[in-house]
């Protein structure tokens, strides 16, 4: 186990390096720099001042010097400064991180609350009307693009019926720290979280359904039944015990999605999280923010897969051997 863990972590180091180089040079290749937007257009700022400013910010140094500086700062938790918002990128991300985290966790919980029972029911009552309905739903949720579904949900429940707020993460004027604030935040979460969860259940439902169908006929289950174990216990103790463990491992992959933010959901529901920040920053050419966000997502993705691989290998020793 330790050998596997160590080997798996060692694989990550070159990946991290390649990721950082890739992202840095991609960011450098962006047209214009932080000074070329609003500041350059301002006639009061002369070309000479602009050039001095560029020199001071180190924008004229060779690329590899800038990369070295960027990486050094990265290790100290300094992700540079947002030229648009005039604050440190770390602070900017920190201010949005909580929102994205709430939304991500809400989507994650809802996804499993919906998909685990549906998957089990679908497998247990295979080929009944119930199973066919659930399978039909998985086809729909697999195929439906998230942005179309979100828009329709927002249009129907937000605008037409007016049941839910149509934008933001909290109403203006609600005092932070009060109970009303928490309720209000939760109220804003419901619609985006439902939209996100309803279209991301497919994999878990299909996995559980197949697992239950396969395990149902295995000898150890037959033995349990013939010994008179009640049907509900056959499922909870014998069948699900094996099937639910790998789901814990999938959480690692999901962790990535939780923090990386969902571009479509956040942009459609006007939810101020990291996904929205990314889209705004790229439109405003605020490349230090873009770079930091892509790097953060890549990093989280690497950690997420690492966690998943480790949990999977712990649950299923065959993976360690391979």
């Amino acid at each position: 186990m330790w050998k596997f863990t160590l080997r798996r972590i060692l694989i990550m180091i070159p990946q991290l390096f390649v990721l950082s180089v890739l992202i840095f040079f991609v960011a450098k290749a962006m047209p214009g720099d932080a000074l070329s937007g609003a500041i350059e257009a301002n006639p009061k700022v002369s070309a000479q001042v602009l050039e001095e400013q560029r020199e001071k910010l180190g924008l004229n140094d060779p690329a590899w010097v800038q990369y070295g500086r960027w990486l050094g700062n990265l290790f100290q938790g300094d992700l540079g400064k947002s030229y648009v918002h005039k604050v440190g990128v770390t602070d900017l991300i920190g201010s949005r991180l909580a929102n994205t985290f709430y939304l991500g966790v809400a989507i994650l919980i809802l996804t499993y609350v919906i998909s685990i029972p549906l998957g089990i029911l679908s497998g247990r009552y295979q080929n009944t009307l119930l199973d066919k309905t659930i399978t039909g739903y998985t086809y729909l949720s697999f195929a439906t693009p998230i942005f179309i579904f979100s828009l329709l949900v927002l249009f129907v429940f937000g605008f037409r019926l007016g049941w839910f707020p149509t934008s933001g993460s909290v109403d203006v004027g609600v005092q932070p720290g009060t109970w009303a604030y928490v309720v209000n935040k939760f109220y804003h979460l419901i619609l985006p979280a439902c939209a996100g969860a309803l279209v991301s259940t497919t994999a878990t439902i299909q996995y559980l359904r197949n697992e239950v169908i396969d395990t149902r006929l295995k000898d150890f289950v037959k033995t349990a039944r013939s010994k008179g174990v009640p049907e509900s216990k056959v499922y909870s103790r014998h069948i699900l015990r094996n099937s639910l463990l790998p789901i814990a491992a999938f959480l690692g992959y999901d962790l990535t999605a939780v923090l990386a933010g969902n571009l479509f959901i956040e942009s459609i529901f006007g939810y101020p999280g990291l996904g929205q920040l990314f889209l705004q920053s790229i439109t405003q050419r605020d490349f230090s923010v873009v770079t930091a966000l892509v790097m953060l997502s890549g990093l989280l993705a690497l950690i997420g897969t690492l966690l998943s691989d480790l949990i999977l290998s712990w649950v299923d020793p065959r993976i360690r051997m391979g």
Binding site: F147, I148, F159, A301
Partner: protein, 301 residues
């Protein structure tokens, strides 16, 4: 003796069991949703490609200040947008662009993924190891974010650049799938026999293994086509998809980013949204029926 084995074997298999293709066809016709989807797709394709001569893009995108945000009428079947341009005409052109480009991305990424997957799986060893590490790495990358970044930084951004960016990320999933299948396939007797007989590797790959993967590839192509149309329209919705001169279905949907339009001028975004939804569902239903056909356990009968 080698000759005899090679000529007799294929005839026997054809007589013994139905070919992959006839199984695919039979399964497709047993599924009512799939038949409906096939009919829809057929009409859709006739509609978007048959209208090339009828609907002129310059005509449709001409700004008409007399008919701004007009509701659906006999003149404008689905109304007009905030520059007085006919929505129905834009819908047809957008659908044509989205489908064509989604199709090209699918074919290109399949071609690359198939080639690399076949090579990695068949030869194994160091080649396989290097390719797989590379693929694992690309799969971990934040795909959507990077596509958006690339779309923004490419200087002369056009349709081909978009296709190239998408393909650069999308071939990896296909390569992984094909490699896994080839790994299983190359251990089978027929491959070992061909090797023993001295058949060159490229011949074993193209005439031996590839035909056996055809049904999986077809299923995967179909499902990917639906997925790729979804990604393209989604990116176009965000404003990072097809370039300006090439309207996509997602471009039409993006008018809904304005809350006023979303709430009051439904004809500007709803038809395009529903068309994307139905199109992707239809392609998926066909794909799912084909998928069942390739898995004997799940066939309808």
């Amino acid at each position: 003796m080698g000759m005899r084995v090679e000529t007799v074997a294929p005839i026997e298999t054809i007589q013994k069991s139905p070919s992959n293709w006839s199984i695919l066809g039979r399964e497709l016709l047993k599924d009512k949703m799939a038949i409906g989807s096939l009919i829809f797709l057929f009409l859709f394709l006739i509609g978007i490609y048959g209208s090339i001569a009828l609907i002129n893009q310059d005509e449709v995108t001409k700004i008409d200040l007399m008919a701004i945000q007009a509701a659906p009428s006999a003149d404008h079947w689905l109304g007009t947008d905030d520059a007085g341009r006919d929505i129905f005409g834009q819908l047809v052109i957008g659908a044509r662009n989205s489908f064509t480009i989604g199709f090209m991305i699918t074919i290109l990424s399949a071609a690359i993924g198939l080639t690399i997957g076949l090579i990695a799986g068949f030869f194994g060893g160091l080649v396989d190891n290097v390719i797989m590490r590379f693929i694992d790495f690309i799969l971990v990358l934040p795909f959507l974010m990077l596509v958006i970044v690339f779309v923004t930084i490419i200087p002369k951004y056009g349709v081909w650049e978009f296709i190239a960016i998408m393909t650069a990320f999308l071939w990896v999933g296909k390569a992984r799938l094909i490699r896994a299948k080839v790994l299983a396939e190359r251990e089978l007797d027929y491959v070992q026999a061909s090797k023993t007989l001295g058949t060159p590797n490229w011949k074993i790959i193209t005439f031996g293994i590839l035909p056996n993967l055809s049904s999986i590839v077809i299923v995967n192509l179909t499902l990917n086509l639906a997925g790729n149309i979804g990604i393209e329209t989604g990116l176009s919705y965000l404003g990072f998809g097809l370039p300006d001169g090439t309207p996509s279905l997602g471009t039409l949907v993006s008018s809904a980013t304005n809350p006023v339009i979303l709430e009051q001028y439904w004809w500007m975004w709803l038809p395009a949204s529903l068309l994307i939804l139905v199109l992707i569902l239809a392609i998926n239903f066909i794909g799912q029926a084909l998928k069942r056909a390739t898995d004997a356990k799940q066939r309808l009968g």
